[in-house]
Subunit: 251 residues, 2 copies
DNA sequence: CGGGACTTTGAGCAAATTCAACCATTGTGG
DNA sequence: CCACAATGGTTGAATTTGCTCAAAGTCCCG
């Protein structure tokens, strides 16, 4: 147990600034630009936004921010996956959303974040100081327009989730979830059939308002009825998307 | 059964225009202005917004719009109460929100409304054509800023509701609901202790993801333990708000 | 004052949870 | 390289919470 003397006065931040002209523009070949708030920007506007941006790759199971922290930053996900988590004092938790490349992080706040954000995998993020980004809205109303549109979609998705949590059976919830992942993959231009399910049974349960055992049992049920096939590495083949869709709405 | 010949070519719309200079300005003594999107506007800007506004008083149990209708209008509630409803094909329904004077209606869309909106009581609404309102954003970015702020709050509230629906017990849900109503009344400058509960047990159930019997049983439980007292006309006295609050988070 | 809508309460039931055991995969250190 | 611990997943049995079905009871409102 030898104590290591660290020569650094401050621990190095994971977040690297992007306004160094000597470095290549990190937004230059951004793969997800068209699906982020940046899609609204022309080259010149993009430069202004990039100037106040920092980015980082966080390891798996890292916390980006905690529920009730001051909402000082907003983020774009460029690679990896995240979960948004709300906790009750006794430890029960609800995952309010999963985020993937191209998704925006930090719409639900009120001076303080409404939930925590944790990485599922190593994840790359672009970070923007919220106040300074909001200041840019004056010059770039398109940016604000875009965020309002994103918020609208989020709100519609939140209402779908309320219907799922309040009124669907366990089986309907899982079927809905698999279709939701498939639709998300489609939006992101990824294969929609053998979908990748990058979260544990426990995380799926915390998202669907169930226990991990109930989720597992229903995976088995879907499997034995021939609706899905479980492949290695958490991939799932949707054998009967039509039937699954009917199942999802309890029809 | 005598057929009545109606002399009208078109049925009279409930919605009255507000751009008639001969009429008194309907926004002149709006009681809820400070809590709506209009709070951001100066007198001159308000006039422009009022020009494209129509308003109406709808009777109880009227539908303002249906889920999946084209989202052509947005609304301000000036008086009364509404519910937002999502339905499953077999008739199960989830209420995703209740709206009261000062609330904005129509944030969650995606070309089409994400849910239906129905009045609980006779309700007065201001209606704005969405496209024309959005066109005004160019001249009045403050308006858009305000809506983004409202959407943020809605999103945070939606996440609270997901935690409630996914992870709270029936008792915790009802306690949370009563405190939510109390907090809403406070925001609106209304009495927070004998709160008015203007919805039926069935509507509360559809909001909390329960059955009406379970809601009723838990009202009784709270009553016999001395947490609340049920008064005439749907009023509820919160005798132990502190204890109720602890109950709401299962602590 | 009568009728319909809403509410309360009870009894039995079912879906999902809890508790528990076991299996599979992966990564680590001896 | 293999044993083994750790993590995650599956399955079973017992339990519980909330649901369904049913019967009264209450409150408005005309």
């Amino acid at each position: 147990m030898t104590a290591t003397v660290t020569p650094l006065r401050r621990p190095p931040s994971a977040w690297a600034a992007c306004n160094d002209a000597s470095l290549p523009d990190p937004c230059r070949d951004c793969q997800v630009r068209q699906r982020t708030m940046c899609a609204a920007l022309d080259a010149d506007e993009q430069r202004h936004v990039t100037e106040l941006m920092t980015n980082a790759e966080l390891p798996a199971h890292a916390t980006v921010f905690h529920e009730a922290d001051p909402a000082d930053y907003v983020y774009n996900v460029t690679d990896g996956a995240l979960k948004l988590v709300k906790m009750l004092p006794d430890g029960r938790q609800q995952i309010t959303g999963f985020l993937f490349p191209g998704d925006f992080l930090g719409l639900a706040y009120n001076e303080r974040y409404a939930c925590s954000a944790e990485t599922l995998h190593p994840t790359r993020l672009c970070r923007f100081p919220r106040k300074r980004l909001e200041a840019l809205f004056r010059e770039m109303p398109k940016l604000e327009r875009r965020l309002l549109g994103l918020a609208s979609n989020e709100l519609a998705a939140a209402q779908d989730q309320m219907l799922l949590l309040g009124r669907k059976t366990a089986r309907e919830r899982l079927a809905s979830f698999l279709l939701m992942l498939s639709a998300g993959a489609k939006r992101r231009g990824l294969p929609t059939d053998p979908i990748v399910v990058p979260m544990t049974r426990n995380e799926i349960a915390d998202y669907l308002g169930l226990t991990l055992e109930t989720v597992s049992r229903n995976f088995s049920w879907l499997k034995t009825r021939g609706f899905i096939r479980l492949l290695p590495a958490g991939a799932v083949r949707l054998l009967e998307p039509e039937a699954l869709s009917r199942l999802a709405d309890g029809d």
